[in-house]
């Protein structure tokens, strides 16, 4: 064979190799021949755009995509005010010792594959979450079992927060047919008003209205979930009209989209906080007075107004006003640099000739570790660095991946960490409070470092065994007051969620805890 012919054969082979899989791709792409925005309204799907993609169909990993699209449902849901509302379960009973719960399930609920929701199915789904997921690990939940329309949950020790945990997407109820005998996810089969039609590797998911839904059926026949990690691209999708409901809009874009006549911009507070965790073993953070002094040097209002475009996002305490644990009795943390300086002076920190604060020959210097997956964090860390620098405190900022924070805490090298902490991941913040501030052996690496308080621990213990709301409220106040007094972590700013909704869509009701589906009650505005 001549060299030339050989080369042509190779070229042909390469073309075949590449075109074979590509023809499949092109065929799929050609099925959608016109841009979405131009499709006729009845056939057009409702497009929800978010930052997070579904990594696989396992509800313990990517269940949030399906609960937020109304495909999977949980036993209870958020009542939009920080409390709990019945969904698949109607009410519950607790045994005398507080360790056995009986949940009554709703009658006549069908899964997307036609089977009925029973106690056994619910128990199977929850037991899978218990063994494979992260939700119940570290909690005293022992087992789920079910019969007929009753679901029984047993815990090792009394656990008053169980209903709050059942709101989490990990605890969504899937039909037994959704998993194979090894427990791997085969499909998404839930009870919600949208049924999943195509998965496409988790970036673009298509849904269709479920005709046999037990509640108010979806008025828009088709829906689509579109994962776009880039915040600018999301904003552009809102502007161009390709996204009907676009969530996770940044503050900067929100300010601009508010002026857009085709978009209604909704902003609501989230129970998520940007805070600075301090290593209290370091000499400069060892007393509450120094920690308070540091807090007084932070101009939260300026940060919130300039960068977050919302002066109310300045954190006066750990829990934002939307969180159920918000304590109105607490005096808000303020910005008072002169008092802060005075307090530092009283603690022995005096400026040297260059203006750096020194004590016993050592400068007040520390490192802030933060991460970039939430881009506002390094930004605010830079601001903190500069403002503290002007007060004579040498701060360096290090941006790593978020997993470094618990890692550095473990090996003791963490000095401070600036992070976003979600106190609403289950309806009751106690979950996060325990892992962050509770007994030290149960801590997760994201909370207070080397700080502990026996009165706090006892309050936590009492909380778990208190089942009445009034008693819980008093204990919440006790714990939040202690955190505000001791300041093992310094809250800086609360989070807002900005959602851009096209004016073509009507009826949206947003949930601050992001547990209720976005398309709930949504219709086309005609």
């Amino acid at each position: 064979m001549k060299k030339k012919t050989f080369l042509w054969y190779v070229l042909l082979f390469m073309i075949c190799l590449f075109s074979a899989p590509l023809t499949g791709e092109i065929a799929t792409a050609c099925r959608f021949c016109s841009p979405l925005a131009a499709e006729a309204a009845p056939a057009r799907p409702l497009v929800v755009v978010s930052a997070w993609e579904a990594s696989g169909m396992d509800p313990t990993v990517s269940g949030f995509v399906f609960t937020r699209m109304g495909c999977l449902e949980t036993l209870f849901t958020s009542d939009r005010k920080g409390g709990v509302e019945p969904r698949l379960a109607t009410d519950w009973e607790i045994s005398e010792d507080g360790c056995t719960w009986i949940f009554h399930l709703r009658e006549g609920v069908l899964f997307h594959d036609g089977t009925t929701l029973t106690g056994e199915a619910a128990a199977a789904s929850l037991n899978r979450t218990l063994s494979r997921g992260s939700l119940f690990k570290g909690t005293p939940v022992r087992d789920f079992s079910g019969e007929g329309l009753k679901l029984v949950a047993t815990t090792e020790t009394p656990f008053s927060a169980l209903p709050a945990y059942l709101l989490h997407y990990s605890a969504a109820i899937s039909a037994p047919t959704a998993f194979d005998d090894k427990g791997e996810a085969l499909d998404v089969v839930g009870t919600g008003f949208y049924r999943m039609v195509s998965f496409q590797e988790g970036r673009i998911l298509d849904f269709e209205a479920f005709k046999e839904y037990w509640g108010e059926k979806a008025s828009i026949e088709k829906a689509r979930y579109f994962a776009v990690p880039n915040p600018e691209t999301r904003a552009l999708l809102a502007e161009s009209g390709e996204g009907d409901i676009v969530v996770d809009i940044s503050s900067e874009n929100a300010a601009r989209l508010r002026q857009n006549p085709d978009i209604s911009l909704f902003s609501q507070s989230l129970p998520r906080v940007r805070l600075l965790a301090l290593n209290t073993e370091l000499p400069f953070f060892s007393t509450p007075k120094v920690r308070h002094a540091l807090s007084l040097l932070i101009d939260r209002k300026a940060i919130a107004t300039a960068l977050l475009k919302n002066p109310d996002a300045a954190a006066g305490q750990l829990f934002p006003s939307v969180a159920s644990w918000h304590n109105e009795d607490l005096k808000p943390l303020e910005f008072n640099p002169s008092r802060g300086r005075a307090m530092l002076r009283e603690e022995g920190w005096l400026p040297d000739d260059k203006g750096i604060l020194m004590k016993e020959g050592k400068p007040l210097a520390f490192e802030i570790l933060t991460y970039a997956s939430r881009p506002d964090l390094p930004l605010i860390a830079e601001v903190l660095q500069q403002s503290l620098r002007e007060e004579g405190i040498l701060v360096t900022v290090r941006v790593e991946k978020s997993g470094m924070i618990p890692e550095c805490q473990k090996d003791g090298s963490l000095e401070t960490a600036f992070m976003a902490r979600n106190f609403g991941f289950v309806a009751d913040p106690i979950g996060t409070v325990i892992t962050d501030f509770g007994p030290e052996k149960g801590r997760g690496g994201w909370g207070a470092m080397h700080w502990s308080s026996s009165s706090f621990d006892s309050a936590v213990g009492r909380y778990l065994t208190t089942f009445d709301p009034q008693g819980q409220r008093e204990l919440q106040k006790e714990m939040t007051a202690l955190l505000q007094k001791e300041l093992p972590i310094i809250p800086v700013a609360w989070y807002d969620n900005h959602v851009a909704v096209s004016k073509k869509v009507r009826g949206i009701q947003l949930d601050p805890s992001e547990m209720r589906p976005y398309p709930e009650g949504v219709t086309w505005a005609e």
Binding site: P231, E232, S250, E252, N253, R256, D299, A302, I303, T305, A306, L307, A372, P378, L379, A381, E382, V383, Q385, Q386, S387, R389, T396, V397, R398, V399, E400, K401, M404
Partner: protein
């Protein structure tokens, strides 16, 4: 490097860019002082090029960012060149086995694109600038190695080097008198092109979030931070972008100058310019 109009133009461009940066350094303030109430302001007497999203003097940020990008990429190119040439000498001197091993190493390294390797290696050092430099030098040295090796090979056989060897001149002398003058033009051209390419790579990595830690400015990182404000304040994105492009353009012209009418073998870094395979 022969001089022609392209190269003269490129040098002029480089000189003016350099002068611009130095000027910015002189007249601008501190690139780190923030003023949240003065953010995104247009040019004023105090801030000649306005302020950025944190209220810092934008001109000062540009100057320092430009300086950082230039010096970092120069460092990478210099290190790659040194390592590549050094290894080429090793390959020549130490015999067949070392040479085969080094060739295999070159192939392995060349199989990986710089940015991807920087990503992977970046996680090794936590996304900081040391990871970027290591990755870029690691992927950069093979082209210098190959070029130097083929040039040296050709050189080793030439009569005057042979004569010098026979005459008993010590290696350093041989090196200085014959090898360096021969290597310098070609490697210099490669280095100029490589410098431009490295500036692009560093800014791309900065755009992806890997590189200098805040508050040190870097042109690519400035662009990615400025994206959010692209609509209201496009200069935050356009000015660093133009600065990068002008630098790279000047360096490309310097390296390639005058050869755009000839398909020079230098365009293909795989090629052996002396045509000896």
């Amino acid at each position: 490097m022969p001089m022609n109009s392209e190269r003269r133009g490129a040098l002029l461009l480089l000189a003016s860019l350099g002068a611009f940066l130095v000027l910015l350094f002189w007249i601008s303030g501190d690139p780190f002082t923030q003023n949240l109430m003065e953010r995104l302001k247009e040019s004023s007497r105090e801030h000649l090029l306005g302020t950025d999203h944190l209220g810092r003097d934008f001109g000062a940020r540009l100057a320092r960012g430009g300086r950082n990008s230039i010096f970092l990429s120069a460092l990478c190119v210099f290190a790659s060149g040194m390592i590549g040439t050094g290894l080429a000498l090793l390959a020549l001197g130490k015999g067949k086995k070392t040479e085969t091993f080094l060739l295999f190493l070159t192939d392995t390294v060349m199989a990986f694109p710089g940015i991807v390797l920087a990503l992977v290696l970046g996680s090794l050092t936590g996304g900081g600038i040391s990871g970027v430099i290591i990755a870029l030098v690691f992927t950069g040295w093979p082209q210098y190695f190959r070029m130097a090796r083929s040039l040296l090979k050709k050189l080793w056989e030439t009569p005057f080097v042979e004569a010098g060897r026979l005459a008993g001149f010590p290696l350093p002398v041989l090196f200085w008198k014959y090898v360096i003058p021969e290597l310098l033009p070609t490697l210099g051209t490669m280095a100029s092109l490589g410098w431009g390419k490295t500036i692009l790579e560093i800014s791309s990595l900065g755009f992806l979030g890997i590189g200098l830690a805040p508050p040190e400015p870097e042109l690519g990182a400035m662009i990615s931070q400025g994206l959010t404000y692209m609509r209201s304040t496009p200069r935050l994105v356009l000015m660093p972008g133009i600065l990068i492009s002008l630098f790279v353009l000047a360096l490309l012209l310097l390296g390639r100058g005058g050869t755009h009418t000839k398909v020079s073998k230098e365009m293909f870094s795989h090629e052996d310019p002396s045509c000896n395979k």
